[in-house]
């Protein structure tokens, strides 16, 4: 089922209505309004569209296949579902639905897991923040009874929340915070962003709007009353007096706000606020501190000292600031990687290069955990989209079932996998023939190999963790400080062949006794939690070795233990490429990912201009290196010519050169008189191309010489 939308040809009936044409009504071709019921049926998930057609049929008023553009109130655009997009363009459509489902379930699981993880990471800071706000509320309520709270009655309690430099990532934290506040502390929570608050009145307006708006939706029974007051407030200016009055009525009316819930204003991006606006806002608020239990939360991206930079002492003395520091984003990433990537729970894996791309985008460019997860999602989608055999990339049991249902075409694909071919070569001649001819046998072997792959993963991660624990405390971190570095180097090649590994092992031999024992202890715990049979056997051995170590022959035992670790590494940390059928689970096209996530607009423009064939795929444009066919678009020719010039370009010379090239393209005789002559058409084309180049930022007009333009890029021919 393909999601193609065809525009039905205009029916005969339309032309009969041509008399209805009234004075130049605006005509526009609108495909969606004339979807035939058939077509509507072909798209699932959008059942309303068929009705829509019936309810408001297009009113053909125009002639010659043009239709009047008539927007109907309940018009629904037919958007193809995600699945349609997925299956569209998949080379193998028969199992694409299955793959899509696999992909969806896997992604949902991953998403849920990461969200849970992020909630957990945020919990600590949010909890302390909530406690702070609750405490401030209670001091406000106690009022002047308490001596201490009277002393700071004029301070507005303020939480400075330091969240790290990636501002878009904060949205989730703030969402979480305001949800929790609304649930447990107060219904009056407003968040404002700097872009909405260019001036003081905008800021006041936003705060008031959101506060009063929420209360209307919160308590429905008072709605008519509220609305009438709101109408009044529309007329009255936005000021905190209005807010005060509103607050009084609200707290009087509703029963649950007897205890004066605070009004929390969240400034999402403090740095971006105009300092003047912010100062004025705080000054105004401080005048109402006695009537309104106001409270601020500052979202800070850089460092808390920005508060001092933005607010003068006279303003900051009105605030009682308390600092809350969130987890650093690198730690955040480490825990996400730990949860999502370094686990055998998910069958989908990234190979070393892809992981490297994602991690380096994080470290070098944005520090955004959200982008990292999005990148992971993209890799997941790409994998399931481009690899037909990814049907097998799911939970072990399901994968085994899918393996028995493979079609002949899939089996052929399986046989063509490099890792499978390698596996075949290792088998005896009889087996080889079987594997290359019998589909059923291939399926059986495939099941066995899938099981092996699962086992490999189950052993891989605990071993990796053990090795990391042992090497993470070594001086200079020969195998990397973070576990992800070790993981990447393990993915790339046999880790035990690295010089770093050898030196790490030597360093381990020199390690102090108690450090080594404690590290081994931790390893033992990891291995214990895994509890595979083989591990358990070795674990016992480890335990005894540790016990005896305490006695005398420390060195012998140490060597034994390390040899055991070494053997573990050698048997379990082989790179995935060595495993047959690894292509099913591992996504490996890092270039695709890099192209999508780390776009290079300038390089693309230059490629398009210097090698138009790359994008247009027109055989006429194919040219040798460094040259441009003279049939190329005008802008490419102009670009190519401008590369030959220096910093200043004479426009007339440029035009002449252009005319020559274009004349040659027209196939004119080079000896004829009007060859290379500038006519109006060429002139116009040239001017257009030049202004396009100017728009792209390659040249700009200069005041040095009137008939020249200056180049803004370097280099060229």
């Amino acid at each position: 089922m393909k999601a193609t939308r065809k525009l039905p040809k205009p029916t005969q009936s339309t032309s009969s209505h041509c008399n209805n044409f009234k004075d130049g009504a605006v005509v526009k071709l609108e495909a969606e309004t004339i979807v035939s019921p058939n077509d509507a049926h072909s798209l699932d998930g959008n059942c309303n569209s068929a009705e829509t057609v019936k309810v408001s049929p297009p009113k053909p008023v125009q002639t010659k296949g043009c239709f009047v553009f008539k927007p109907s109130a309940n018009k629904r655009r037919k958007t193809p579902t995600v699945e349609d997009y997925f299956t569209h363009g998949c080379e193998d459509t028969e199992n694409s639905k299955l793959r899509f489902r696999n992909c969806q379930t896997l992604w949902e699981k991953m998403k849920a897991d990461t969200e849970l993880l992020q909630d957990e990471l945020n919990r600590k800071i949010l909890d302390s923040l909530l406690a702070f706000i609750r405490k401030s509320v209670s001091t406000f309520q106690r009022g002047t009874d308490d001596w201490a709270s009277r002393m700071r009655a004029h301070e507005i309690p303020t939480a400075a929340l330091v969240l790290g430099v990636n501002v878009p990532d904060h949205d989730m934290t703030f969402q979480c915070l305001s949800d929790q506040l609304q649930q447990s502390v107060t219904p009056f929570v407003v968040s404002v962003q700097a872009t909405e608050c260019a001036a003081l009145n905008h800021m006041l307006q936003r705060v008031l709007e959101r506060l009063m708006g929420t209360s209307v939706s919160v308590d429905n029974e008072e709605e008519p009353e509220q609305r009438s007051t709101n109408v009044n407030q529309k007329r009255v200016h936005c000021s905190l007096i209005t807010l005060c009055n509103w607050y009084k009525t609200v707290t009087k009316v509703c029963s649950y706000c007897k205890e004066h819930p605070p009004i929390v204003v969240i400034f999402k991006d403090l740095e971006a606020f105009n300092p003047k606006v912010l100062q004025d806002f705080i000054l105004i608020c401080s005048r109402y501190v006695e009537q309104l239990p106001l409270m601020f939360v500052f979202g800070i991206a850089t460092s808390p000292s920005t508060i001092q930079h933005m607010l003068p002492h006279s303003v900051s003395s009105l605030l009682g600031i308390e600092l809350f520091q969130s987890l650093s984003c690198t730690q955040h990433l480490a825990s996400v990687i730990d949860k999502v990537i370094l686990t055998s729970q998910f069958p989908f894996k990234l190979n070393g290069k892809v992981l490297q791309v994602l991690v380096s985008i994080f470290l070098y460019h944005d520090f955004s955990v959200r982008n990292f997860i999005n990148g992971l999602q993209l890799a997941l989608l790409e994998h399931f989209h481009s690899q037909p055999l990814s049907v097998l990339c799911c939970k072990e049991a399901a994968a085994l079932v899918h393996a028995t249902e493979l079609s002949h075409r899939d089996v052929e694909r399986l046989q063509q996998l490099p890792s499978f071919m390698r596996y075949v070569e290792e088998q005896g001649p009889q087996e080889q023939v079987e594997l290359l001819t019998s589909d059923d046998h291939v399926k059986e072997v495939c099941q066995k190999l899938l099981k092996d792959l699962c086992k490999y993963h189950k052993n891989y991660y605990p071993t990796l963790r053990c090795l990391h624990i042992l090497t993470a405390s070594l001086p200079k971190y020969p195998l990397g400080k973070q576990i992800r570095e070790l993981h990447i180097s393990c993915l790339e090649k046999n880790v035990w062949e690295n010089d770093e590994y050898v030196s790490a092992m030597q360093l381990l031999r020199m390690m102090a006794k108690d450090e080594l024992t404690s590290a081994l202890q931790k390893c033992a715990e990891i291995l214990k939690s895994v509890k595979t049979k083989k591990m358990r056997a070795t674990l016992l051995e480890m335990k005894t070795s540790r016990r005896t170590k305490k006695m005398s022959q420390f060195e012998i035992l140490r060597d034994q233990a390390l040899e055991f670790i070494d053997s573990l590494v050698r048997s379990h940390l082989a790179p995935p490429e060595s495993q047959p059928l690894y292509e099913v689970c591992y996504y490996s096209s890092s270039a695709v990912l890099r192209r999508h996530l780390n776009a290079t607009p300038r390089t693309s423009i230059q490629t398009a201009l210097s090698n138009p064939y790359h994008y247009l795929k027109n055989e006429d444009l194919r040219a040798e290196d460094g040259t441009v066919s003279n049939a190329a678009p005008d802008i490419c020719i102009v670009y190519k010519l401008h590369l030959e010039c220096g910093r200043l370009i004479n426009l007339y010379d440029w035009l002449e050169a252009y005319a020559t090239v274009v004349s040659a393209a027209e196939g004119k005789d080079p000896d004829s008189a009007d060859f290379g002559k500038v006519d109006e058409l060429k002139h116009a084309r040239f001017i257009q191309a030049v202004s396009e180049l100017e728009f792209l930022g390659f040249i700009k007009s200069t005041k040095q010489k009137t008939d020249h333009v200056s180049r803004l890029t370097w280099g060229g021919c």
Binding site: K135, W147, A148, R150, M151, R152, E155, P157, T158, V162, V165, V167, A199, N201, L204, R235, V236, H237, S239, L240, I241, D269, E271, A272, L283, I284, R287, T302, S303, P304, S305, T306, I307, Q308, H309, H313, S316, S317, L319, G320, I321, E322, L323, Q325, S328, I361, F362, L363, Y364, H365, D366, F367, N598, A599, T600, P601, T603, G697, K700, L712
Partner: protein
């Protein structure tokens, strides 16, 4: 009645002499002295007697109870507010530093004397309409503001005021108090002169009181205006500060001990900080100190108590004026420190900023571009620049340190050129590199300069300090000083 009228609260010479003067003079004449329109130099007469003559005596006493330490200022104010049944002076301008009790005195007086008044803070008035509305609301009741049009002009205000005034003519002077009056200057040009002679405009017995921290000379518009009565609130003296601070004595200690403690506190802080608010914050922080909760030491053993409080005073001194931590956190920290000694960690202790790798280099490049002259780029970033000594290419104006002059703007291409030569690996000119520049701008680490030509050649300035950039360059092991022209 006259026996009760004594300046009991303050023994200041001036005030007493004023009172003494009154006793011998004829009081009825004095009452009208405040109204002398021709007298631009304001002569203050303490009119307590007059006041008694015109007002209810108990009200004055009550007002005085609330403002103990402002005797002199209060006398001055009273002199102007007292003659409430007569036509009063059209405008009064009161100035004095922060926390010298300007608004407190005025508000208490107006409130306790039960005079009709409106107070408006000019910060709050984002539009003139709001200002008018608030004045009308508090003078004429809740439905008065609806008479104003949507975007009222000054003449609208005057018209509505007159209209309402006729309906509710006042027996007493009405007062309009404009707090932070310096902001009136930034509003419409006719506003300040109009408020100064509002009495004439609306033909009502109304006085406008302007409160500001700025002297009147900075207000006077070029076109000239009516000169208001000037009144200066002087800073508190040490004695006054002590008196105010000891008012709030802690319930569990004797007042003597408490005032002795205040005395010590002032002795320490008075030389650096005279701001009442700041002092009372310090006080509230220190009050939680073990000075007051040492069970073994008697209150009389002052030496021991002093030994006990001294280190805490020192710590409080370090952070004076820096509102780094709230008082609550400060207490907690102090409690922690009793167990483990360490420096007070305020907001400025967390100056470290985590940035992505390329952002760090972009910031370094921006710093270099801002503080090095463009001519010297060749010497720093070209491989074969030859040996150029600093003296050879010093221009005259470049002899002063660039760090003293502040950052200079630089174009985007220069930033990128330096960035590519500074960063050690090959960096593709990806969209995210450009994104980082703009996010550095939103983080206020870079500033965008000039608003024309944003498409072609945006210009930036680096907005971080040398210490900050040195810390950043240390994390990427880049030797910043080697590349800075000033340190050559």
């Amino acid at each position: 009645m006259q026996e009760g009228i004594q300046c009991s609260c303050c023994e200041s010479e001036q005030c007493l002499s004023v009172i003494r003067g009154i006793h011998s003079d004829d009081s009825v004449e004095k009452t009208f002295l405040g109204n002398g329109r021709n007298g631009d130099k304001h002569t203050c007469i303490c009119p307590i007697e007059t006041l008694v003559w015109t007002n209810d005596y108990t009200l004055v006493q009550r007002a005085r109870c609330n403002i103990d330490c402002h005797c002199l200022s209060m006398c001055h104010c009273l002199s102007m507010l007292s003659c409430s049944k007569q036509c009063s002076y059209p405008s009064i301008f009161i100035y004095g530093h922060r926390a010298t009790g300007k608004s407190h005195v005025i508000h208490t007086l107006l409130k306790e004397l039960e005079l009709p008044y409106a107070t408006v803070s000019c910060v709050e008035c984002v539009s003139v309409g709001l200002l008018f509305e608030q004045v009308l609301l508090s003078l004429f009741g809740s439905d008065s503001a609806s008479l104003l049009s949507r975007n009222p002009s000054l003449s609208d205000f005057v018209r509505v005021y007159k209209q309402l005034c006729v309906q509710a003519s006042a027996k007493q002077t009405r007062y309009i108090v404009l707090d932070r009056a310096e902001l009136l200057r930034d509003m419409e040009a006719n506003l300040l002169p109009a408020f100064l002679r509002l009495q004439e405009l609306v033909e009502d017995n109304v006085t406008v009181i302007l409160l500001s921290e700025i002297v009147w000379d900075k207000f006077r518009p070029n076109t000239g205006c009516f000169e208001p009565l000037l009144l200066h609130f002087p800073d508190y003296s040490k004695g006054e500060l002590q008196q105010i601070l000891s008012e709030d004595s802690h319930p569990s200690y004797s007042p003597e001990l408490y005032s002795a403690f205040i005395n010590i506190l002032l002795g320490v802080f008075y030389s650096v900080c005279r701001d009442l608010r700041e002092l009372s914050l310090r006080l509230s922080m220190l009050k939680f100190q073990p000075l007051f909760s040492l069970p073994s030491v008697k209150e009389s053993d002052t030496h021991k108590l002093w030994r006990n409080i001294e280190p805490h005073l020192k710590k409080a001194m370090q952070t004076v004026y820096l509102r780094e931590v709230s008082s609550v956190q400060w207490e907690q920290q102090l409690k922690m420190e009793e167990k483990e000694a360490g420096a007070v960690r305020g907001l400025s202790a967390h100056a470290h900023v985590e940035l992505p790798y390329y952002s760090k280099f972009l910031l370094i490049a921006a710093y270099l571009a801002s503080y090095n002259p463009a001519r010297t780029d060749k010497r720093f970033f070209l491989k074969h620049h030859g040996k150029i000594k600093k003296t050879n290419f010093l221009k005259k104006h470049e002899k002063t340190s660039n760090h003293l002059l502040g950052p200079k703007p630089f174009p985007l291409d220069r930033l990128l050129a330096i960035f590519y030569s500074v960063v050690d690996s090959r960096v593709a000119p990806t969209a995210s590199v450009f994104c980082q520049i703009s996010s550095l701008v939103t983080l206020q680490l870079l500033n965008q300069v000039g608003h024309d030509d944003q498409l072609d050649a945006p210009k930036y300035k680096c907005a971080v300090s040398l210490d900050f950039i040195l810390a950043i360059s240390r994390t990427v092991s880049f030797d910043m000083v080697k590349y800075l022209y000033d340190f050559l």
